[in-house]
Amino acid sequence: MVDFDVVDLPDSDHPEAGDTAPDFTRPLVGPEYWEDVALSELTDEGPVLLVFHPMDGAFPATYVWNNLRDHGVVDRVTTVGVSISSPYEHKTLLAERGIEDSVCLYSDPAAGVADGYGIENPLDGMTGVTEHRPAVFLLDEDRTVEYAWVASEWPDFPDYEEVADAVEEHA
């Protein structure tokens, strides 16, 4: 499918279907403000699609959100993203992708959440910068993982049909 070289990423020890996803608290950016919100506060209200993506402005971030939007996923389940970008950049991404009414984004500049999920991605050529490996988790009300996808190559993208099917089935 791709005609350029992709890099294999090392195996990751991420939560699998049936595992409980780690809880975390970070600033969650919505259309009007950001505030500290625990993931468990969101899952307490129902299933949550948790999307880890490269820093805002990188083309994979743009593609992932365009596709999740166009597949109607973000309108069917509470959807939150996580990247190392600042709240200010998140505001821009939400507006530019036209998803400010359906998606909120966690800001995790030090990628501490990536550590908890076993999906750290130290960036080649950007010394000292670690971000989140692209990953998608569908969580139920107890943060039990219903569906998990984690990039095994760089770059790598989720199978949006598969994500949509998982949301259809579980959320």
């Binding site: 600033p27 403000y33 709240p87 505001k91």
Partner: protein
């Protein structure tokens, strides 16, 4: 994490000295609060306008007392009167 939501919500702008002044007093009086950071662009602060009638920060909402308030000097007086030890700077008189 099943911590009860603090009664006080502080709408603030990052690095705004007037907001920091309120934070200082909240901390001094050991009052739990939740921070909501808003836009630097005044015209984009519709959420603050909705709750307080103005777009200025800081603004607080106190669910305990039902009070919503802007202007750091007013907020500081209110916090000291309501949660202080009674020796607040403002004249008392409020029940």
């Amino acid at each position: 994490m099943t911590v009860d939501e603090p009664a006080i919500t502080l709408y603030r702008l990052q690095a705004c000295p007037f907001c920091e002044r309120v934070v200082h007093v909240l901390d001094e009086l050991d009052i739990a609060y939740e921070s909501r950071f808003v836009e630097p662009m005044h015209s984009d602060r519709n959420v603050v306008k909705r709750i307080s009638g103005k777009r200025t920060v800081p603004a607080i909402v106190d669910d305990e007392t039902g009070v919503t308030m802007s202007e750091s000097a007013n907020i500081v007086d209110y916090l000291r009167d309501t949660y202080g030890d009674g020796s607040g700077a403002a004249e008392g008189g409020a029940a």
